[in-house]
């Protein structure tokens, strides 16, 4: 695989992660569907997984960066699988709105699994690791945009989580922003 193709695929992967995190914000702000604690931890899992892709864009592709993505996605998959299993028994209800028949935590598990598979496929070609110099000096618009949006979403989640949960742990079923002194959504 040419190194430029590897760079492009990493940028597209990070844009996909950006899109997922942005959709979570849209669901929270537009549809007023506040995230539960496990939902917030799944967002953190996406951030942990996307971290490796961001490192690939800044420092060039390395197996350790793909390892970062695989480990982050594995933790996220464990969290989303746990939440799916909480609701898998018929009659135990669900959390949040369903999209195309599946709830967000189920979609999250599928996304985490696809990230692990995608990284495994990218790791198959060693030619991308031959490039000695980092790429950041020649970052073009697509990788730079993906990185900046990823940072903005990570920082946005810091403030969003603070607003929902305050300084402590989140309520099991949040219905209001705790930091706004219980302002209903």
């Amino acid at each position: 695989m040419p190194s430029d193709l590897s760079r492009l695929l990493n940028a597209l992967g990070l844009i996909a992660v950006d899109t997922l995190l942005a959709l979570a914000f849209i669901d929270q702000l537009w549809f007023r569907d506040l995230p539960c604690p496990l939902c917030i931890l799944q967002r953190a899992g996406f951030t942990a997984a996307g971290f490796g892709l961001a490192l690939n864009l800044l420092f060039g592709p390395r197996p350790s960066h793909y390892g970062v993505t695989i480990l982050g996605a594995s933790v996220g998959a464990a969290i989303s699988m746990r939440q799916t299993l909480l609701h898998i028994v018929p009659g135990t209800g669900s959390y949040g709105n369903a999209i195309f028949g599946l709830h967000l935590y189920t979609w999250a598990f599928i996304a985490f699994a696809l990230m692990v598979i995608g990284c495994a496929v990218l790791l198959l070609d060693n030619r991308q690791f031959a490039r000695p110099e980092p790429w950041s000096s020649r970052m073009n618009v697509l990788p730079l945009t993906a990185f900046v949006v990823f940072v903005v979403l990570a920082v946005g989640n810091v403030f969003s989580t603070l607003l929902i949960c305050g300084a402590g742990f989140c309520p099991d079923n949040p219905t209001q922003y705790l930091l706004f002194n219980g302002t209903p959504v």
């Binding site: 496990l38 931890l41 953190a44 951030t47 942990a48 990185f147 742990f169």
Partner: protein, 51 residues
């Protein structure tokens, strides 16, 4: 507390932007450990949903 993983990952991204790869990896490891601890705390949450 729940925002701590995001804060650590954001610090790691900042360190990566400043070319501090070791620090970035350190922030990422710390964020992942905190994430796992928070998962352990919340994995047995009682469901409080309308059936």
């Amino acid at each position: 507390m729940m925002s701590l993983p995001f804060l650590l990952f954001a610090c790691g991204l900042g360190a990566a932007w400043l070319r501090q790869r070791g620090a970035a990896m350190g922030f990422w490891v710390a964020g992942l450990v905190v994430l796992l601890v928070l998962f352990r705390v919340h994995m047995s949450d009682v469901l409080n949903i309308a059936l």
